[in-house]
Symmetry: C2
Subunit: 132 residues, 2 copies
């Protein structure tokens, strides 16, 4: 978990062991996991862990701009890539892929009126494997 404590501190987050473990998991698994998936992997290592603790940790990461939250198919997914990009989600297997497409900028008249916090551009369909 080299350097993770520094990254957290740079984002004004106190680097507890759990926070470092969750961030390390996200760094190594860029497949947009949800809370359940992270819990399944970390719970055997950290017996006192609860899904609520993971959720709160992720919520803090999102608040501090360290992680992006994606709502896809009624589920919250977490993405360590905070630079603008798009996603493809297969509605058959649920797999989420990154796409190097920058979502279009909003007309200045809207930017003046609204406070925009997040843009989500998602293509839904069936991936190559699931079409077979």
């Amino acid at each position: 978990m080299n350097g993770i404590d520094q990254i957290l501190r740079q984002h004004d987050i106190k680097p507890s062991y759990l926070r470092m473990k969750v961030f390390d998991y996200l760094k190594q698994h860029m497949d947009h996991p949800d809370v359940d998936k992270i819990y399944k992997v970390l719970a055997p290592e950290i017996p006192t862990l609860s899904k609520t603790t993971i959720y709160n940790t992720l919520h803090l990461f999102v608040e501090k701009g360290l992680v992006t939250e994606l709502i896809l198919n009624h589920q919250k997914h977490y993405d360590i890539r905070t630079i603008p990009h798009a996603h493809f989600q297969c509605t058959a297997c649920g797999q989420i892929d990154d796409l190097e497409i920058i979502p279009p900028a909003l007309d200045p008249k809207y930017v003046a009126a609204w406070q925009i916090n997040q843009v989500q551009l998602t293509y839904f369909g069936v991936c190559a494997s699931c079409q077979k």
Copy 2:
């Protein structure tokens, strides 16, 4: 409900009274309602109505390409405008506005591999009223 039976028939949907009522509601309320909102308005007029019936009706409309389903904030919303456009959702009051932005086309290499069924481009933030 002038002409609604014809629109439904053109989309291969048998125009029952309930289906015509739901479509008429969507036509007159383009604020992207969810099932609860439609139920609240139609239930007093149609005492035998259930949320499941409305959901099934909307599902049929989506399947036949008559209506678009949007998943925003863990809720399914329905939109009679099926031409490509984007949305803004205020995360404070939940209001959803249409935006005249066409989501970017996918690179042909992806279109060849995946079967794309829907594109969702949403800007999340706080609307002018909620900022006051």
